[in-house]
């Protein structure tokens, strides 16, 4: 089920809220678990059992990982088992077909690809259960003895299918004892409305432009048109994904949870290093804590550090999908980050800020140009076109003018929404006009966003979620 659907808003969510607040504390996690399972099973019921299997594995290995209790090799073996199970599932469901097709191509084989659909959210929940077991092994958290609590953590529907990757240590205490409050609920509502609006009003709208440009006859485009398409995608993926994270965080608050932030205005960055501190934070910190640092991080010399960085970014790319373009995308950022670490950041520091922003944005947009095309031929053609090797004119007058004039207001709104302007404005208004802002302006804006989003959902002509396949 999608958050941005009338079924979720007016049937599912209203039912969860009633049940959750009607039952006593002791049953609240059970309510969340049951509804989360329904939420997960909505489109494809059979993979619920796979997820339940993962929870059982995490529960048992988690208990056995406790090095304070077991002084033998048992904790290590358990942790390795958990890693094997989770990575095995990921490899099997997400990557087998990729390996088969490429082996077929490379070695002229004829292996039939498996007809598997990717279990929704598997990339997210595998990482979450794994982080739990590893943290237990490291002694950073205590093993969760209450199966219900652990199951609630893994299945928690706000973050189940598209993140953020909520680490067990973040909500360890909240699982057992959290406090729902009116204040948290109200903040949750605001956050959810912002996320819904980002997704439904902004991302879908500009996504339609990208869709139109990328499905147009590419030989009729111009260099400007190709760039407009990629810029549209740049906005779409940010508002789509960060909107989803906002909704998840907002929903969490409604049920008393506090998740960590996942985005922090990534497009204001003036270097790629900064960009990755602001983009999909839960993923990059996961890779930092469970891959980069265990590999030795920067503690084993410069060469080793470079290898580690490249490895982490290759994996980050590959995590996004079983496709060459995602790997290239990861390696692309790995190389840039490496350069920045070694010399570029120092050099950039001497340049004016405007130039640094242009530098970062250009590399980010080019990155999305890699990310957007899973079909390698399309990817190559798009790159040729972007850099003027596709034989396209710089500007074709007709369709460029049409796309631009039809979307110019939207693009201005997107630019403004990509910087913390509204946030700062809100903070200023809140301090200056506390009561009218809190009691009138904010509720009206929130209601407006909810209703406008519903209007867009009602006409529902264009509502695909981008971050679903991962």
């Amino acid at each position: 089920m999608l958050f941005s659907s009338t079924t979720f808003l007016f049937a599912f969510l209203s039912l969860v809220l009633i049940c959750y607040y009607a039952v006593p504390r002791i049953a609240k996690n059970a309510v969340l678990l049951v509804f989360s399972l329904v939420f997960y099973a909505w489109g494809e019921p059979k993979y619920v059992f796979l997820m339940l299997g993962s929870i059982v594995v995490a529960y048992i290995t988690g208990l056995l990982c406790d090095r304070n209790k077991y002084k033998s090799k048992l904790p290590l073996v358990s942790m390795i088992l958990a890693i094997v199970w989770n990575m095995g599932l990921l490899l099997f469901f997400k990557y087998t077909n990729f390996f088969i097709t490429n082996a077929n191509n490379l070695f002229d084989l004829n292996i039939t690809p498996l007809g598997l659909t990717l279990p929704i959210g598997i990339s997210f929940y595998s990482f979450q259960t794994l982080s739990y077991v590893i943290d237990v092994y490291r002694g950073e958290v205590k093993p969760q003895r209450n199966f219900l609590n652990l199951a609630t953590y893994v299945t928690l529907f706000p973050q189940l299918i598209a993140g953020p990757i909520v680490r067990y240590q973040t909500i360890e205490d909240q699982l057992g004892s959290r406090k729902e409050s009116l204040d948290k609920f109200a903040r949750g509502v605001k956050r959810f409305a912002v996320g819904l609006g980002k997704k439904v009003i902004l991302a879908n709208n500009i996504g339609a432009l990208f869709e139109e440009i990328s499905s147009a006859d590419q030989s009729q485009l111009s260099v400007a048109g190709v760039w407009l398409g990629i810029i549209a995608y740049t906005f779409q993926i940010y508002f789509d994904f960060s909107g989803y994270s906002d909704m998840a965080i907002g929903l969490g608050k409604m049920f008393g949870f506090e998740f960590l932030e996942n985005f922090n205005y990534p497009y204001v960055s003036d270097s790629i290093t900064e960009f990755w501190r602001r983009w999909h934070i839960s993923l990059s910190t996961w890779f930092r804590d469970y891959v980069y640092i265990p590999l030795g991080g920067n503690r084993k010399g410069k060469v080793r550090q470079c290898v580690n960085i490249m490895l982490v970014w290759f994996l980050t790319g590959f995590w996004h999908g079983a496709n060459w373009n995602f790997m290239i995308w990861g390696v692309y950022f790995g190389i840039i980050l490496l350069c920045e670490k070694l010399f570029l950041l120092r050099a950039l520091g001497k340049l004016p800020r405007v130039i640094r922003h242009i530098y970062a944005l250009l590399l980010i947009v080019i990155g999305w140009g890699i990310f957007a095309f899973e079909d390698t031929d399309k990817l190559i053609r798009n790159f040729k076109n972007m850099f003027g090797f596709g034989g396209l004119p710089l500007w074709n007058g007709k369709s460029d003018l049409f796309w631009l004039t039809q979307n110019v207001i939207l693009l201005v709104i997107l630019v403004i929404a990509s910087v913390p302007l509204f946030k700062k404005l809100g903070e200023m208004l809140r301090t200056k006009f506390t009561v009218p802002y809190g009691c009138v302006v904010e509720p009206i804006c929130t209601a407006g966003i909810l209703l406008i989003s519903t209007a867009y959902l009602a006409s529902n002509s264009f509502n695909p979620f981008l971050y679903f396949r991962f």
Binding site: L9, F192, N407, V408, G438, T446, L450, I452
Partner: protein, 381 residues
């Protein structure tokens, strides 16, 4: 912020959300389900059946989703709000339709036209082949759509082809057997002869075109006899283009038509076995699609005995021709209308019908968009 005030603000915010989520949810439960949406011209989803089998097959969830989105409270109002929000964002092109202001400053829906030379050539070839088979005069009235008159008002860079070029192209395609009457007269015609919210022309457009045709083809010397009074006007006509992007700012068209009661001696829907003395099916006047009041829509074969003096004609037609029929009826004694979309694999082909009915003229009456897209002309040959 003072604690009390913050609490009030929180209560308001929570209330907004609770009213929003539960308001739509409860409305869904208590309001009566609509069976049919005139706006979308389709049957709406019904409540899904809750059974184990349905759940296991995944049918229940998908049916529930369509039920909720179809039966959403105030759906039509929300959808038009969406159109106007898009317009606020500066979008003037949605779902294949341009929403632009016409010279009177009123909102007008203009359908995008993309020339398809292959289809035009194929259809013209079918018409030519047919014309060779019949030994009576064959006239071809080809009517442009409203975009032909509004190219200069379309949004910047709009990719809408110029219909006058297509008319010129078709002119090169029609054979000697066909007398071609392209109905593009920029002096006499204007966007005002078309509906603002529908893809058809109005009665006045049809009246003007039929008059021009009859005069140019030498069948009458002036179009005075077509000057029949426009009797009834039904207001509030929001047509098919409106449904593609409904805006609250759209002004409904007036659906005006001539008093038809005494117009025909007999109208026969041949395949349906239905007869009437009027070409107007007034039951449609109270519905959304008022244009369908003409003949009740489109049918394979309709025969009209007008009760007037004049020749017998066979009209190969689309829905534009329905509005023209009133005026052709002033000229001929008998009219046979053939709509190739519904005249397939019949006992007799159209040329056989011509000899059986003893028609002394064939009129092809099509709008350009139809000739450009329809694939049923092959049924002629």
């Amino acid at each position: 912020m003072e604690k009390k005030h913050r609490r009030i603000a929180d209560i308001i915010m929570a209330a907004v959300f609770v009213i929003f989520v539960f308001g739509f949810g409860i409305a869904l439960l208590v309001k009566n389900d609509r069976e049919f949406s005139e706006m979308e011209n389709r049957n709406l989803a019904k409540k899904p059946e809750l059974s184990w089998d349905n759940i296991m097959e995944g049918k229940f969830t998908s049916e529930l989703e369509s039920y909720i989105s179809d039966q959403l409270f105030a759906k039509d109002a929300l959808v038009s709000a969406k159109t106007d929000l898009d317009r606020l964002l500066g979008k003037t092109y949605m779902n294949g339709v341009y929403l632009i202001k016409d010279s009177d400053g009123r909102l007008r829906y203009v359908q995008k036209y993309t020339e398809n030379r292959e289809q035009l050539a194929a259809n013209a070839a079918s018409l030519n082949e047919f014309a060779e088979k019949v030994n009576v005069p064959v006239d071809f009235m080809l009517v442009p759509n409203v975009s032909a008159y509004m190219l200069d008002k379309l949004p910047a860079g709009a990719d809408c082809d110029d219909q006058s070029e297509s008319l010129d192209y078709v002119k090169t395609l029609v054979g000697d057997k066909i007398n071609f009457y392209p109905m593009l007269d920029k002096d006499g015609f204007s966007e005002n002869l078309y509906f603002r919210t529908d893809h058809h022309w109005s009665f006045r457009g049809a009246q003007k075109a039929v008059g021009d045709y009859l005069v140019k083809s030498g069948q009458i010397s002036d179009a005075g006899k077509l000057d029949i009074p426009f009797g009834k006007t039904h207001e509030g006509f929001l047509g098919t283009l409106y449904s593609k992007a409904p805006s609250s700012f759209a002004e409904p068209d007036e659906f005006e038509f001539c008093t038809a009661e005494d117009a025909a001696a007999e109208v026969e829907w041949v395949n349906e076995g239905k007869k009437s003395d009027s070409i107007i099916d007034s039951s449609f006047l109270d519905k959304k699609d008022k244009y369908a009041a003409l003949f009740g829509g489109n049918f394979g074969q309709v025969r009209i005995k007008t009760g007037r003096e004049g020749g017998k004609v066979l009209v190969l037609k689309d829905s534009y021709a329905n509005a023209a029929m009133q005026f052709l009826m002033q000229q001929y004694s008998e009219i046979t209308m053939i709509d190739l979309r519904y005249y397939h694999m019949q006992e007799k082909d159209v040329s056989e019908l011509c000899s059986e009915y003893g028609v002394d003229r064939v009129i092809m009456l099509y709008n350009l968009d139809f000739l450009n897209e329809d694939r049923n002309f092959v049924w002629l040959t």
